[in-house]
Symmetry: C2
Subunit: 153 residues, 2 copies
Amino acid sequence: MATEEQLIQELRRRGHRITKVRQEMVNILVEHERVHPVSVADMLHALEERSLSVNKTTVYRELEFLIGEKMVREVDLLEGWKRYEVITKGDHHHHLVCTRCSAIRCVDMHEDLAALEMEIGKRFNFRVQSHQLEFFGRCDSCGSSDKSESNSE
Amino acid sequence: MATEEQLIQELRRRGHRITKVRQEMVNILVEHERVHPVSVADMLHALEERSLSVNKTTVYRELEFLIGEKMVREVDLLEGWKRYEVITKGDHHHHLVCTRCSAIRCVDMHEDLAALEMEIGKRFNFRVQSHQLEFFGRCDSCGSSDKSESNSE
DNA sequence: CTCCATGCAAACACTTTGCATCAAG
DNA sequence: CTTGATGCAAAGTGTTTGCATGGAG
């Protein structure tokens, strides 16, 4: 949905400087848009692969900056660290996390959640601004056996 | 639902020692069951109030132990630290977190979520084992104004 | 040339580990 | 007594801050 050019353009319009690091980070985030949210470690790796050696502090600060610009959101998959993904208006997806192979899949649950939020509003007089919804279980390829809990990104 | 006695009894049955600390922590967790999940800081406070000065390491270890016993689960409300709550079978609640006053309210969404999980199973061939669902927004008393984002537990 | 962006080291906050001591059963 | 529970200090891990330097516009 969101393209790198659109985002960069908008940042420029808002008067922010477009550096090599900023451009690449936006690019990486966009490339992962519907794949899986990226962790700081993912980001550092991806930058390294592009021959951009960036300090982790810079990564943290840039992500913080993009959150402030309302272009990125934090995602928590109970791993003990944060992940980040591009915010695309109209898109409202969630994640399926496999407890065996750790695979992450994005799924669209827009209508279902809209209904739930409305229900919450009525039932508890609580005006929902956002929510986090993630599912943990066995993905297609890991099946349903309860044997091991091995890993692999 | 779950009573302190039941849990303590079961732990005894499983051959675990019942210490003063263990008993009080179970008690505190049960008392917070439908109120709000407790953080380590909450737990230390509550223990202090009962004139039990416990080391934080012990609190962490005991919570870990109770998780291992399948009596407690971790809850993440995006605060930067973990919370814990008693697992009660048949009860399946979620949380409304006010972004203004930080109040936490437990709400029952059992049927709605059961339907969603089934949907996920069918649509993506993913066998859901658990999920996390939390809503963030304005609670009843904080209304809908966007003015300040002050605090108070 | 002027600030915003960056790197580096140190500080932080929450959590975990190692080891000696204590106490439940 | 025996072994699980506890306290204390230190280490770990992800994240943030302070400050000097660098580069976009």
